[in-house]
Amino acid sequence: MTFVKTTAVAAAVSLTAVAAQAQTQIEWWHAMGGQLGETVNQIATDFNASQSDYVITPVFKGTYEETLTAGIAAFRAGEQPNIMQVFDAGAATVIGATGATIPVQQLMSDNGVDFDIEDYIAGVRYFYADNDGQMIGMPFNSSTPIMYYNEAALAEAGVTPPATWEEFAEVTGPALRDAGYIPLAQSHLPWIFTENFFSRHNIQFASNDNGYSGVDTEIMVDHPAIRAHFSALLEWQEADLFHWYGGGWSDNQQPFENGEVAMWLGSSGSFGGIQDRVDFPFSATYLPYWEAVTTEPTQTFIGGAALFAMSGHDDAENEATAAFFEFLTSSDVQYMWHRETGYVPITNAAYAAAADDGHYERFPAAEVGIQQLTLPAGEFTRGYRMGFYVQIRDVMNREYGRILTGDTSVEDGFATIQEESNQLLDRFARTQG
């Protein structure tokens, strides 16, 4: 331990000695692996090449959960990076810890960078903002769940992608099954079939405006509409219309890429990866909704992650961080990120740039995520803010797994989720007191 620390300090000192002459070094911890990681490295290289005052070093820290854990541990040891990527479910933890981060809006204005929250796309703007509408984290890889479909499979079955779950159950699903496909799979039950289910149907997900206006929040997940949805999933599973491959993301995505599953619900950010790997024509459309629940379906909100400027660094480093954020939000970089990965561009200017360039004529599926984010909003479509949410998602995943494998009933499962989540929320509220 001491040895490692000494070596690290020695290395840091020698690095600073070299850099001190001209450049400010900053570090960026992220959770983007594979093809996404390469694009992150590209952005960093481009930033370093674009000017000579600052040098940013991206460091891959594993999954979203691992990155957050590493960042918290580093903060407690006083070794935090300048920029840390935190995912949607960790937002409440990091935003709740006032003093751990510098609100991005403040960072920008302190360093003389123009900032107008109205420049950001509507569905993106306020997810990582505090209750006064001040942006705390800079939205980075913003995605939303959409429905990908295998065009060849749908043509073979003679159907079009379903707009509603009723249409799926009665028309699309059975036709695809009879054509020899597994009609439907999805990759993230809490995100797609819970959080965004509530947003798509504009149903309240938690008290205190989904948790944004207070910490003494209670979750309201045990709602008849979602119980009905999971009962339907069970029926579809029984009728071979839906297949659940477990809690792993890629376990569910793989069969779609193999051509066994005809329609897959995943992230708009999966676009780049799928495009690299599959050889069949595919496209995407909005997340279906239940006509029985609403006839005016609303927007979904962003998932993915944001970049937080960690506090405890000197002014020169903060200036470098602000400069990087300015570079990152420029429409060229945003368009490049959007084009390479499928994550939505976060500013209106970048969206316009992509459209002007004809990107959506070439790849109509690339626009679906952003269109869905700009659908009509409702009272409960901004997102959610709940503490210990990583654990709440674990509870959901556990109970959903038990429901889908027949270990518990839909009623008991949701009652358990509601009860355990509220215990966790209560615990979190007390840590914030």
């Binding site: 854990t69 407690r76 477990g246």
Partner: protein
């Protein structure tokens, strides 16, 4: 009787050596000084963190460490009333029993067979020990590939027997994969110890037994097995500890970072709640419970089991 005699004998030896040592050091501070490095390592790396865990378990902390509230025993009472925690406790008991039993049983069988091999014995033994060099996460990763839902060789094998095996979906299928990989990983170390234990049994004893009993099974249970007991007892402790703690890497790779409805051992839960979930207080309480369990286990093992072992 025999056990007690052996114990008494050892105590006497102990006193004897103690006496010799005392006379060897003229300055009473010298032995203490010589022990300081060892003691300080134990204090810094074991007692200090353990003490900190005990302290943290009485608090509720925000993940970033800005504030903590004293909550008394609440973290413990929460555990006692959590069905989920009790499920993990039950699973840990089953997991530990199964892994210990099979890794000892299979290793013993292999050792007995390898002991009889004369030609090429060295190559066989080396081959059987290889697996020991595989790190637990790597073993877990190999398990994930072999048991993969769509392409796993073992999945296909099990399916050909009519078992619709689905890793990560069915609770017990996932548990089966965890146990299989954990057992496989631990067999080599047990094998090495059993084999050397077998080779330490004098030939004269074996020959005498051969005259008395023609059945090799009978000879094994009456003579060889009791003579292997000291090795077996040592391995039992090592294996229980292994199943409880060292299987972490295997479990982590098999659940692929999504605990979901997969089985979890107590140690893995400490990690999930404390590191992944950011609840340090609750997680520390679980660590303390674990420490107490290990303490009880150790006392039980040495008080009850060791008395029945005959050391030659």
């Amino acid at each position: 009787m025999a056990g007690r005699k052996a114990l008494g004998h050892r105590t006497h030896d102990g006193e004897g050596t103690d006496h010799v040592k005392r006379s060897a050091f003229k300055n009473p501070w010298l032995p203490i000084l010589l022990l300081v490095p060892q003691l300080s390592i134990i204090a810094v790396f074991f007692y200090w963190p353990a003490g900190y865990a005990v302290q943290t378990s009485f608090f509720l902390q925000d993940p970033f460490g800005f504030g903590s509230t004293y909550v008394g025993l609440e973290n413990y009472t929460d555990l006692a009333t959590s069905t989920n925690y009790l499920d993990a406790l039950k699973f840990t008991a089953v997991f530990t029993t199964v892994v210990t039993f099979f890794s000892l049983g299979i290793a013993l069988l292999l050792a007995v067979k390898a002991d009889k091999v004369i030609r090429g014995a060295r190559s066989y033994r080396t081959l059987l020990m290889w697996v020991y060099a595989v790190a637990p996460p790597v073993a877990g990763l190999m398990g994930v590939m072999l048991f993969d839902q769509s392409r796993g060789n073992l999945t296909q094998l099990l399916q050909s027997f009519g078992w619709d095996f689905t890793l990560g979906v069915s609770y017990w299928d996932t548990a089966f994969a965890m146990m299989t990989v954990s057992v496989w990983k631990q067999i080599p170390v047990n094998f090495i110890f059993f084999l050397s234990g077998l080779q330490a049994i004098p030939n004269s004893v074996r020959e005498a037994a051969l005259i008395d009993n023609k059945s090799s099974m009978g000879r094994f249970w009456d003579v060889t097995f009791p003579l292997l007991a000291p090795t077996g007892f040592f391995l039992l402790i090592i294996n229980i500890t292994y199943a409880l703690f060292d299987t972490f890497g295997i479990i982590d790779t098999i659940v692929k970072g999504e605990p979901g409805n997969n089985p979890m051992t107590l140690v893995y839960r400490v990690f999930v709640d404390g590191f992944r979930g950011g609840d340090l207080g609750g997680s520390s309480a679980q660590s303390v419970v674990l420490m107490i369990l290990v303490l009880i286990l150790t006392v039980v093992q040495f008080r009850l089991l060791e008395r029945r072992i005959h050391y030659t």
